[in-house]
C-alpha cells in the first residue's frame, strides 16, 4: 500500500528526519508532501490527495492546533487523520489536540517504533518487506 503523507513542520531538518523515520518505520514507499506551517498545509491539502498528516504544534503563521481546527471545518478535509508530532507533551495540551480532532500524538524525540505504533492503527499495516529492520543502525532511531 502506497500512502500520501503530508509532513507539516517549519524546520527543514525536522521534516527530513521525519521523512527518514517514516522510511525506517516501513512507509518508505509513500509519497511525501511537505509544508512549513498550517496555512501552507491547508492550501496543499486542497489540491493534493493526502492519506494522513503529521504536524508539529509550534509553528509560525499558523500553529498545529489552529491548523487542525481549520481543516476539520472543511468538508473535503475533515476526514483526513492528523497525527501531532511535537515536543509539547503535557496532558492538557495532548487532550487539547485530541479534542480538536487529532487521531494520534508522537512526542519528540521519537523513534521509528513510536511513529509506527501510532501510524498503523490509523492508516493500516505496512507491507511485510518494509517493516522495521532492527539490524540497520542508520535507520533504527
Amino acid at each position: 500500500m502506497v500512502y500520501s503523507i503530508l509532513i507539516v513542520d517549519d524546520s527543514l531538518p525536522m521534516r527530513s528526519v521525519i521523512k527518514k523515520t517514516l522510511g525506517a518505520a516501513g512507509y518508505g514507499g509513500s509519497e511525501i508532501l511537505e509544508a512549513e506551517n498550517g496555512q501552507a498545509a491547508l492550501e496543499m491539502m486542497r489540491h493534493n490527495w493526502v492519506d494522513v498528516v503529521l504536524t508539529d504544534y509550534n509553528m509560525p503563521v499558523m500553529n498545529g492546533l489552529d491548523f487542525i481546527l481549520k481543516a476539520k471545518k472543511e468538508e473535503m478535509l475533515r476526514d483526513i487523520p492528523f497525527i501531532v508530532v511535537s515536543t509539547e507533551g503535557n496532558k492538557d495540551r495532548i487532550a487539547q489536540f485530541m479534542e480538536s480532532g487529532a487521531a494520534g500524538y508522537v512526542t519528540k524525540p521519537f523513534t521509528a517504533e513510536s511513529i509506527r505504533d501510532v501510524m498503523v492503527p490509523i492508516i493500516g499495516e505496512v507491507d511485510d518487506e518494509d517493516t522495521i529492520d532492527e539490524s540497520d543502525d542508520d535507520l533504527d532511531f
Binding site: 524546520s11 527543514l12 531538518p13 525536522m14 527530513s16 528526519v17 527518514k20 509550534n58 509560525p60 511535537s86 515536543t87 509539547e88 507533551g89 503535557n90 496532558k91 492538557d92 495540551r93 512526542t107 519528540k108 524525540p109 523513534t111 543502525d137 542508520d138 532511531f141
Partner: protein
C-alpha cells in the same frame, strides 16, 4: 526546583543527543557559563528558547561549529558538503526545542509549560554568571545555560 530543572536539562541533552543524533553524551559538570570554557571560542553557534509555566525563563544552548556539523550530518543523513549554515542552525534549533520540551515534561506538575519558538542568538550577549551545564559529546562540549525569570 531550579536545581531539578538543571538536572532535567542535563539528562534531556543526553537522551536527545543519543536518540536523535547517534552520539554518546556524558554529563560533565554544572557551574557558571563563565567556567564552561566556550566563551572564548569563535565558532560556537547559540540558540535560545523561551518557556513559561510553573517556572519561566529561557534555555540557551551553545554547540561548537565542528560538533554542530557532525550532529547535522547524523540528524539529516546528508553528507557534510551538502549542509548549509541554515540547515546547521535549523538543527541547533531543533536540538534546543527537543531538549527543552523533554526536560520540562519531566518536571510537569500538570499545569504544563508553553514553549516559544527557538531563535539563533549571539552567545556573547548571554550573561556569563548564569548557571550552565556542560555535556561532553564526541570530544567536544555542549553548554546549556538556564536564564530563569525572578
Amino acid at each position: 526546583m531550579k536545581t531539578q530543572l538543571m538536572k532535567a536539562m542535563m539528562t534531556s541533552i543526553s537522551e536527545v543527543v543519543e536518540t536523535m543524533f547517534f552520539l554518546p553524551a556524558e554529563q560533565e559538570k554544572e557551574g557558571m557559563l563563565l567556567d564552561a570554557g566556550l566563551l572564548d571560542q569563535a565558532d560556537t553557534p547559540s540558540a535560545a528558547l523561551a518557556f513559561t509555566g510553573d517556572m519561566s525563563g529561557r534555555l540557551v544552548m551553545m554547540v561548537p561549529g565542528n560538533l554542530l556539523s557532525e550532529m547535522t550530518e547524523n540528524f539529516m543523513g546528508e553528507p557534510g558538503d551538502k549542509l548549509t549554515r541554515e540547515l546547521k542552525y535549523g538543527t541547533l534549533k531543533e536540538l534546543l526545542n527537543m531538549v527543552c520540551g523533554n526536560a520540562l515534561r519531566k518536571l510537569d506538575s500538570g499545569h504544563g509549560f508553553d514553549l516559544g519558538i527557538p531563535e539563533i542568538v549571539d552567545g556573547e550577549t548571554v550573561p556569563s554568571e548564569l548557571p550552565a551545564a556542560v555535556i561532553n559529546v564526541a570530544d567536544a562540549k555542549i553548554v546549556a545555560v538556564l536564564d530563569l525569570q525572578a
